[in-house]
Amino acid sequence: MIEVSGLTKRYGAFTAVRDLSFTVQPGEVLGLVGPNGAGKTSTLRSLAGIIPANAGRIHIHGVDLAVDPVGAKRQLAFFPDEPRLFDYLTVRQHLNFVARIYGVADHATLAQPLLEELEIADKVDQLPGELSRGMKQKLAIACGLLHSPRVMFFDEPLTGLDPLGIRRMKDSILSRARAGAAIVLSSHLLHLLEEVCSHVLILKKGEKIAHGTLAEISAQFAHGETGVSLEEIFIRATGGSEN
């Protein structure tokens, strides 16, 4: 479970995220949407403990991220938009490294089904430079899933993936949610929200515009009209501009 209350992130005089509060229960997928510069990435990076928040509390599976960052991080996985891999480690060596970092015993047994599920079991001795963009993404996912995280953060998870890769990524996110993980993802792709997310949080200029299930958000911005597309709802919610 993810509990966020009063999250604020500032860069000097500029406030990227202002007083944000929400909760994500196990099994839920929260879609973080908003125009460019809305504060999605800053929110995700604060939630994952990558950057310190200036104010507010974040609890990851009951552990306060500010009080016990190490304990909180044991429960989470962060998947950046670009797979950031180590040039000189093979697929197998990446998993080996991550296993030691997270203290995963018997990681070889755990990794094999993961690699097979992600269809990179035949690439174990290859370096990132020898992998396609999609394969690198899969390796980054395998590394993130190895320690069976209960909380996951995806930053633009579909970037650079081909149609088959997109389908598999959606299936993977849904299957992890069904298994009880609390997931937050940020994306500009509204169809991803419709297909994957149980809840949506719309941000604009660092502030929460709307939060709820898709049905609730639609009801809030449809103003009684029927058949209003998600795109139209998004435009109405954000005022149709970045500012």
């Binding site: 994952a48 310190p52 991080k73 000189y88 060596q93 080996n96 203290g103 015993a105 430079g129």
Partner: protein, 591 residues
């Protein structure tokens, strides 16, 4: 075409200068420029002026006592020609596939599809290289202070360098085109390479045999390194090598000319060789485009990696490596960083290689110091290893960067790990600590073994004291390396914008100045950090040696030094860890 080339080069040069001038508005570049200008003034201009003044004051040649007892020009001529011969042999033997003429990706994109003949493209390349060659000739002459000790003038040296570098450039182009033609005509690249390597081996064998058969007598009496160099030159300047070195000597001769009449006398043959090379290159009608495109792509990838600071020398393409040691799931997480970063280093940094080097040292050094000239051998080993140790300790942390500095782009990922900041910092610096410690331990081993003959002359240098002292120094080395490595890693965290600027291989006086500021900053910090440990150890040794003996006092002093240095390292790790936890690269690099 010449107009287009000039336009391209001059516009590029102008834009580079303008962009460098514009960036001086930023304090990090402005301060760097000041440091760079100060360095150039102190190291090049002042010494050049001092050199010229001193030379003018001399009646002729070198001062008495400094004048060599041998023909310096002849010796340099042989060594220079040998270097050129090696370059030529490598040029022919090294290419595994078709070598391309060096075009950039932009040049390939714009010029290859353009209505320009192949011959014109070759000329474009040759003329393009001239700007770099002229610049190099001037810089080489400046750095070597006008080579005043050889005689001649700055102009003869610049022209001499130009002749040498242009001839090499033409030879590289000619060889590339010729190899391309041979491969296009059906020659097997591997067979071609082996044939040339076999030829080189045969030449080496014949030359070695001729030297062994008729080597000149060794210098006698009070001789120095110059006499050894002269003897080596005379050894090489005979038999087959004598004939092979003639073209190289002719090319170098104008540079070595002591005066203008000699320059004009020697410039003719050198120019003939250059013109011959030009005719050889210009007459070739060989397809080189395919190989040049491959070269441009490879170069582009390398430059991109240099720009983002991830390029490592000799590792153009990453290769999967055997793991340095087995890493099981549970255990200290810091070791995972050591394991990971060792995988990213050169393959030589492996326990087996270290062990092999140690065994070789244990065999070779006692053999050398037991030989007839044992004191000379021991002195050479001690001097060399002492210099190497000093360089390793001072400059090693700037070169061994398999730590946070290379992982900074991954900072986001590292920060999601369930580890305290100090654990990540410690894990990250373990690899360069291991590498530098290994090198310093090997040097220490060689020094200890080389000290054996001195024991007869220095009574207190007993085997027991030597062993104790070397173990104590060996114990201090890893902590000292850790302290040294904390400084550049701290710089990367505290001044990421500065650090980003220095890790990108950008040129210019300002960038050079930035690197100088970092090096001097590191020296200053390490001196301040070492002061309490050295003072504490010295006081303890001085006070206790009368009571407990020299060996025990050294051990006690070492323990004090280790405690102080260890505390400094621990504080540094803790503080940097805190800093890392609060670190946000995206924020730090915001304009």
């Amino acid at each position: 075409m010449l107009g287009a080339l000039l336009y391209l080069r001059l516009t590029t040069l102008k834009n580079i200068l303008l962009s460098r001038l514009r960036r001086l508005k930023q304090p990090k570049y402005f301060l760097g420029a000041l440091a760079g200008i100060a360095y150039i003034y102190l190291m090049v201009y002042r010494q050049l002026s001092a050199g010229s003044t001193a030379l003018a004051a001399l009646p002729a040649g070198l001062p008495t006592g400094l004048a060599p007892t041998f023909n310096l020009t002849a010796t340099l001529s042989v060594f220079g020609a040998l270097v050129l011969l090696v370059i030529v042999l490598f040029t022919w033997a090294l290419p595994k596939e078709k070598p391309g003429l060096p075009f950039t990706e932009a040049e390939v994109a714009f010029l290859f599809p353009a209505p320009i003949s192949r011959r014109r493209l070759i000329h474009f390349r040759l003329l393009g290289a001239q700007i770099r060659i002229l610049f190099s000739a001037v810089i080489f002459t400046l750095i070597s202070r006008g080579w005043s000790f050889l005689g001649g003038g700055a102009l003869t040296h610049v022209l001499g360098w130009w002749l040498i570098l242009t001839t090499i450039n033409l030879h590289l182009a000619g060889a590339a085109l010729t190899i391309n033609r041979h491969i296009d005509n059906g020659a097997n690249p591997t067979n071609r390479r082996w044939l040339i390597l076999a030829g080189v081996a045969l030449l080496l064998l014949i030359s070695t045999l001729s030297i062994l058969n008729a080597a000149p007598p060794l210098p006698e009496g009070d001789f120095g390194p110059g006499d050894i160099a002269d003897w080596l030159a005379r050894c090489m300047d005979r038999g087959l090598l004598y004939w092979l070195l003639i073209p190289g000597k002719l090319v170098i001769a104008p540079f070595l000319a002591p005066n203008y009449p000699e320059f004009f006398r020697t410039v003719g043959p050198a120019a003939l060789i250059l013109i011959g090379h030009y005719c050889w290159v210009a007459r070739q009608e060989t397809s080189f485009e395919e190989a040049s495109i491959a070269y441009a792509e490879k170069r582009g990838a390398r430059l991109a990696r240099q720009r983002d600071g991830t390029y490592r020398f000799g590792q153009d393409k990453a290769k999967a490596r055997r793991e340095p040691f087995r890493l099981s799931g549970p255990g200290r997480a810091e070791l995972a960083f050591l394991w990971k970063n060792l995988l990213g280093t050169l393959p030589y940094f492996h326990a087996r290689v270290w062990l092999g080097c140690a065994i070789l040292t244990c065999i070779a050094v006692p053999w050398i110091v037991r030989s007839e000239h044992q004191v000379i051998g021991a002195n050479i080993i001690i001097t060399f290893t002492a210099i190497f140790s000093a360089y390793t300790l001072l400059l090693g942390p700037q070169l061994a960067r398999q730590d946070l500095r290379s992982d900074l782009p991954h900072a986001d990922i590292l920060k999601t790990y369930p580890l305290a900041g100090w654990q990540i910092i410690l894990g990250e610096i373990l690899t360069p600590i291991a590498i530098l410690t290994g090198l310093l331990w090997l040097n220490l081993l060689a020094q200890v073994l080389a000290l054996a003959p001195m024991a007869d002359k220095v009574p207190w240098l007993t085997p027991g004291f030597r062993l104790t002292a070397s173990l104590c120094i060996g114990a201090v080395i890893p902590v000292l390396c850790a302290l040294q490595l904390l400084i550049p890693n701290a710089a990367a965290l505290l001044f990421p914008a500065w650090f980003q600027a220095t890790r990108q291989r950008s040129g210019g006086i300002d960038a050079m100045g930035q690197r100088l500021i970092f090096v001097f900053g590191q020296l200053l910090v390490i001196l301040i950090s070492l002061f309490p440990a050295v003072l504490g150890a010295a006081l303890v040794i001085f006070a206790s040696q009368w009571l407990i003996g020299a060996s025990a006092a050294v051990v006690l002093g070492t323990l004090v030094a280790l405690s102080i240095l260890g505390a400094e390292v621990a504080c540094g790790l803790w503080w940097l860890g805190e800093r890392f936890e609060k670190f946000d690269l995206a924020t730090e690099l915001r304009p």
